[in-house]
Structure formats: C-alpha cells, structure tokens
C-alpha cells in the first residue's frame, strides 16, 4: 500500500486547531493528493480539547489517524502535548509552540499558522501552494500577518528535505 502521511493537530477550543487542519487539507488537495480530514468539534467553543486529523496520499481510506501512527503531531498548547503523545508513531515528529519564538509573531493568534510553517518544512508541498491556501482560507486583511508567521515557523525548522 502506498504511503499515507498522517498529521494530528491538537490544542484547546479557540486556538485555531480546526482552521489549521483546513489549511493543511487544502494544501494537500491543491497538490493533487487524496485527502481526508476528521475532527471532533462539538465542544470546541467551550475551551475543551480539540483535535483534527489530516491524512493525505495516493489513496486514503479511514479519515482517522490510528493511534501510534501519526507522522507529525502539532500541538498548539503545551498542556496538550502529553495527552496526545500516544498518537505519534515511534520516530514521528512533534511540533510544539517552542518551535517558534512567540515574541516574533505578528500576533498571538497566528500561532497555528506559524506551526503550519514549521510543519511545511517537512512536507513535499511547495511554499507557493501553502501561501495560496493561506490567502484563500482567511480574510484578505490577515494575509500579511499570516505570511509573516508562516515564514517564521518555516525558517525555524532544520530543512529535512
């Protein structure tokens, strides 16, 4: 079976977890992959834990990332690292808020985009596709701030590819 890339994004309600998975899934769709995205959002507005799964590859079946099979775990809130660590596969990549210097961000709200920037350094999709998704996924006035946050996150990662 051809390889499917599994990504889990976790955080608390209001942090933009689901917006982050929207962007991620859109980038993968633009790149021509089969994509599935799954989320549990019933309680998201009440400050509870929120997670979203994104899977992409030649053919994806289940929309849910199996426990212990996430290639990447993106966590927006430090307290949510431990509760979600079991999702990561051995040798998988954990990306936490420490991946970016909060003081450099144009605003606190852009953390989700900055961490997507960090993730992007590990994925095959070209930078331009990410920027296209950021441009169409938010109101136009947010683009400059998001662009900046994305580049800060992306630059902070050692290039692996």
């Amino acid at each position: 079976m051809s390889k499917v890339t599994n990504i889990v994004v976790a955080g608390l309600g209001g942090q933009g977890v689901l917006k982050g998975t929207d962007i991620l899934a859109d980038v993968a769709l633009r790149a021509g992959y089969d994509v599935k995205k799954s989320e549990i959002k019933g309680m998201s507005q009440r400050g509870g834990s929120v997670t979203g799964d994104v899977r992409f590859g030649k053919r994806v079946h289940s929309p849910m990332v199996p426990a212990g099979e996430a290639d990447f775990l993106l966590v927006l809130e430090p307290t949510q690292v431990e509760p979600h660590r079991y999702m990561l596969r051995p040798g998988g990549t954990l990306i936490t808020p420490e991946a970016v210097q909060a003081s450099q961000l144009p605003n606190k709200k852009a953390l989700n985009v900055a961490l997507l920037g960090a993730l992007s350094a590990h994925l095959p999709m070209p930078e331009e596709q990410w920027l296209d998704s950021l441009r169409s996924g938010f109101a136009e006035s947010f683009f400059d701030g998001n662009h900046q946050a994305f580049l800060i996150g992306r630059a902070g990662q050692k290039r692996v590819k």
């Binding site: 599935k36 549990i40 400050g47 509870g48 426990a67 509760p83």
Partner: protein, 539 residues
C-alpha cells in the same frame, strides 16, 4: 478555494450540495450535532431551509411538502428521530407524492450526545428504506439515490449518517448535470393520505409490498458493491466502518452495503458462500449480523466490548483477530467548561448555594454538572427538565420538594419545554414549582442557530417571534420574572429564594445574550431595525 469539480467537503456539506443540485424545494430540521451544518450549508447555497421548533414539526412540514409533490429534506441528530418518530411511522404508510429524505445523523461514541442509539433500528421498525454513506462522495451520491428511490416507490427514505461521515472532509466530484424537478402541485388522494383504520389497513399492505419490491431491486443495486480480495477472509460492512476495514484488512474480500434496509439477502448469502471466514464489521448495534443470521446465513459478529463507542482501524484489527484483551485507554483531554463570562455561572452558583435539586436539560448549561458547580441532578432528553422536576416535586417529602428546580435553555424550551410548562399549570405540585429558563437568545451548544424565540429565521432574517414570558403568562402563571443576572449582585439569589418560598408556580427567565455571539447579534438587530420599515413585519 477548491479546484473546479474536485471539492473537499464534509459529509454534511456534500448532502447539502446534492440536495441543492437535485432541486430539493424545502429543507427542514432542528439543530443537533452532527447534523446541523446540512441545513446551514443548504441555505448558504441558496436553498430554502428552515429550523422548526423541534424535529416532529420539521418532519411534518417536510411530509406536507412531499405530499405537495416537491422534493423535501428533513435533518436531525439521532435522538431527534425519537421526537419525529410519530410522523415517521405513519408517513411510511401514506407514502409521498414527491420525494422525502430524512437524514438521521447518529453519534456512536457520543462526541456530543446523551446516548449512542443506533437508528438503523428505526428503518426496520417503521418499514422505510435506508441508505448509509461511507464518505463525502457517497454522501453526495446517496442523496441523489435517496431522492430517486423515494420518488420511484413513493416512500420516505431514511438516510443514516454518523459523526465521522458528517464531520470528515473528503474529496467530492459532483454531477455535472443538475435536476429540474417538476413543480409542486396537489393531487387529492384521500384513501392514500388519511390514515383512518379503514384506509390504513390497505396502506400497511401496500407498504409491505413496496418493501418486498425494494428488497428484490436491492439484490442488483449499484449502491452495494464488492471489493475483490482473497477468498480466505470475507467482510460485510457499511458506513464509515468500510473505510476502517479497507485499511485494517486490505487483503480481504469486502461486501460493502450502501442500501441497508431491506437487505439484499441473496447477494449476502452468495458472498458468504464464496469466502472461507466471513465477519460482519459494523459500528454500534449488531443490526446487520442479527438480520443476516436470522436468514440462516452463518457469519461472525464482533465481541460485545466493541458495541460501545466508535470503531476505528485499530478496533477493526482487534475484532478480526478475536482480541478480547482490554483496550488501551486514551489519556483524558481537557473537558469543556461554561465560558468565563457566561450568565449561567451565576445561576448555577446560586442553585448550588441553596442546595437545590436540579432537573436539568440539554444544552451548554448541561456543563453546570461539572466542577466547580456540580449543580445538575438529572439530564435525560430535550425538555425533560420540566416533567422530571414536576415528578420529583409530587413525590418527595416537602423539605426536599421545595428545593426542586427545573432548568432549561431558550431553544430547548421552545423545542419541547412548552408542553412541560402546560403540565406544570395543569398538574401543579402542592408546593408549587420553579422553572428557570436560561435565555441566551440562541441555540448555543450546536453553534448558535436561531429558533422561534429569537425572532429570526435560519438565515438570520427577521420573522415572527415567540416571547417566552408572554407565553408563560398566557398560561395563567402569575409569577413570571425576567432578570439579567450580574456578577457581584445578589438580585438573582433573592429572586430565586422568593420564588422557592412562595409555594406557587414560578418562571424565572434569566436573560442575557450569549457572549460568543454578541457581535453578530448586534448586526442582526441592526438589520432588523431597518426591516421594521416594512409594515408586514412591524407588529
């Protein structure tokens, strides 16, 4: 943001898109996770969508539309179908002139529900055909199929989805050609539509005849398909479980059922004969496995431990391996909470301080059961706070009965609390009763939908408004109070004490708009002011 003709849609969005493309004339429903986005999206796409006060009314309106020859859609969560079950069972007898598709969005694992009932049982109980999609492409395709089935056999179709289908986003390629259904028009059919016993008896026979024909048709129907694989392991499955199966057992031969009532038993028997071992993989109740075994076809089911919660790839592997060892427990996440500035906090603090016995209801405020309040003593179903509170008042000794309070939200009150309020007036307990209506001017828990008490339609346009305090007073309740609870004020506490000590019937409406939509509400109200220039809407 998507390429043309290759869309990434949630199952709910795909259902709405297909409904729009198929020319559905009216979509009705009541908000409920995970079904809510269907009508919202249908409305955004330009469809005529309406929230009804509850699912029973929603289904009745949709039945009327389908009697008129139109294509109608009715959406609800699984427990909503309990409320709508009365019209469902008899609509199966009457049938429809146009099309009627009833979406039941089930919630195995209870991501946001009070139970995990499996509504496939309703298809059997009511005698209606049922379709179950596995992803957004099927959610789209099956909506078309449901309409076609409904029109062909003139029968309501139960379209059963689950949380992981409704809320997962997968790639959809819509049809190029959209439908232009024939315009609605009334055709009199008294014997077919008026279910007095003399007409209902032949109607029941007609229903069974339709089901027999549909079962035969289903044997070769394209909504079921076989994924070829090895002969040693065969799997029969439906819905989201199919996706988990494909990943957990890529080598297996799979019979994937999309049209799951009435079941194509010949096709199933033939499939089982062609494989060594045959396992039925289904989420929730053993619906398929029981039906297949009742037809004397030997298949394996899942162990009882997998009846609880959702299935996933790991659990499907365990079922196939007959693994009965305890499953790993997930670390607990952070539970949701009432928002910091929520008015309900003040109410629950007061209830707790007075050691009230609280019959609660369904909504955001159910979170009052968690710490730091732990101020709800029961939560059964929509509207139950009234009846349960009254029942407690009738039997408890006076010192306890006087502390019983019913607590319900505004949307839930309109949904099914009104009949409870009538009960309170008709059968008042000896020491009276206190009802608190938490009115935050929205259906907050499901994502801020409108309801008849907000005076705005699904699309947030001004319409007739049910004024809760006027309604309560019109029933003859003398103590009807409207109050805005404030932090640092004991006004609410004092009012609650007065009402509890009065030994009379009392309704306290704690009114303050939900802080999460304060901005939107201002916008809607501004729009409303502009509209009052229209004499038809000014009252």
């Amino acid at each position: 943001m998507n390429e043309p003709n290759r869309l990434l849609l949630s199952g709910d969005e795909a259902i709405a898109l297909a409904a729009r493309h198929a020319g559905v004339a009216l979509g009705t429903g009541y908000p409920g996770t995970p079904s809510t986005e269907i009508l919202e999206h249908f409305s955004e796409l330009g469809g005529h969508a309406q929230w009804s006060p509850n699912e029973k009314v929603a289904l009745e309106v949709a039945i009327g539309a389908a009697f008129g020859g139109a294509r109608a859609l009715c959406t609800m969560k699984h427990v909503g179908l309990n409320v709508a079950s009365d019209p469902l069972f008899t609509a199966a007898y009457t049938g429809v002139s146009g099309a009627l598709v009833i979406v039941s969005a089930d919630d195995p694992g209870m991501a946001s529900s009070q139970n995990e009932q499996d509504n496939r049982r309703y298809a059997v109980a009511a005698g209606v055909p049922m379709l179950e999609p596995s992803d957004s492409q099927e959610a789209y395709d099956f909506m078309w199929a449901a309409i076609e089935l409904s029109e062909r056999w003139k029968i309501p179709v139960l379209y059963r989805a689950t949380t992981r289908v409704c809320h997962s986003y997968t790639v959809v390629q819509p049809r190029e050609k959209q439908a232009a259904p024939k315009p609605a028009s009334f055709e009199r059919d008294i014997r077919g539509r008026v279910m007095i016993p003399a007409y209902a008896k032949p109607a029941h026979r007609r229903l069974r005849q339709k089901l027999a024909e549909m079962q035969e048709w289903n044997e070769t129907c394209a909504l079921n398909h076989i994924v070829e694989g090895g002969q040693s392991l065969g799997i029969i499955t439906s819905g989201i479980s199919f996706m988990h199966v494909r990943e957990a057992a890529p080598e297996a031969r799979v019979l994937k059922l999309g049209f799951t009532h009435p079941l194509p038993m010949k096709k199933i028997a033939q499939f089982v004969k062609g494989v060594g071992r045959c396992v039925v993989i289904e989420e929730g109740d053993p619906y398929l496995v029981e039906a297949i075994r009742a037809a004397s076809i030997p298949v394996e089911g899942k162990a009882d431990m997998y009846r609880f919660g959702e299935l996933d790839v790991a659990r499907v592997r365990r079922i196939l391996n007959n693994d009965l060892s305890p499953e790993p427990t997930k670390p607990p996440g952070k539970p949701p909470q009432l928002c910091d500035a929520c008015q309900y906090r003040i109410v629950f603090e007061a209830l707790r301080k007075k050691d009230c016995i609280v019959a609660g209801d369904i909504g955001c405020y159910t979170l009052g059961v968690l710490q730091p309040f732990e101020a709800i003593d029961s939560c059964v179903c929509m509207g139950a706070s009234l009846g349960v509170g009254l029942g407690l008042r009738h039997v408890l000794p006076p010192d306890q009965a006087r502390r019983v309070v019913s607590v319900i939200g505004d949307s839930t009150f309109v949904h099914s609390g009104i009949s409870g309020l009538v009960e309170m007036v008709y059968n008042p307990p000896p020491n009276g009763h206190v009802l608190i209506i938490l009115d935050n001017a929205t259906t907050a828990m499901t994502g801020h939908q409108e309801h008849p008490g907000t005076g705005r339609t699904l699309a947030h346009e001004p319409t007739g408004k049910v004024v809760i305090e006027d309604l309560a007073r019109s029933l003859g309740i003398r103590r009807v109070h409207v109050i805005e609870p404030h932090v640092g004020s004991d006004e609410f506490d004092r009012l609650l004490t007065d009402c509890l000590e009065s030994n009379e019937l009392a309704v306290i409406i704690a009114r303050r708009p939900c802080i999460l939509i304060a901005k939107q509400l201002k916008q809607y109200e501004a729009n409303q002011c502009e509209c009052t220039a229209d004499p038809a809407l000014a009252s």
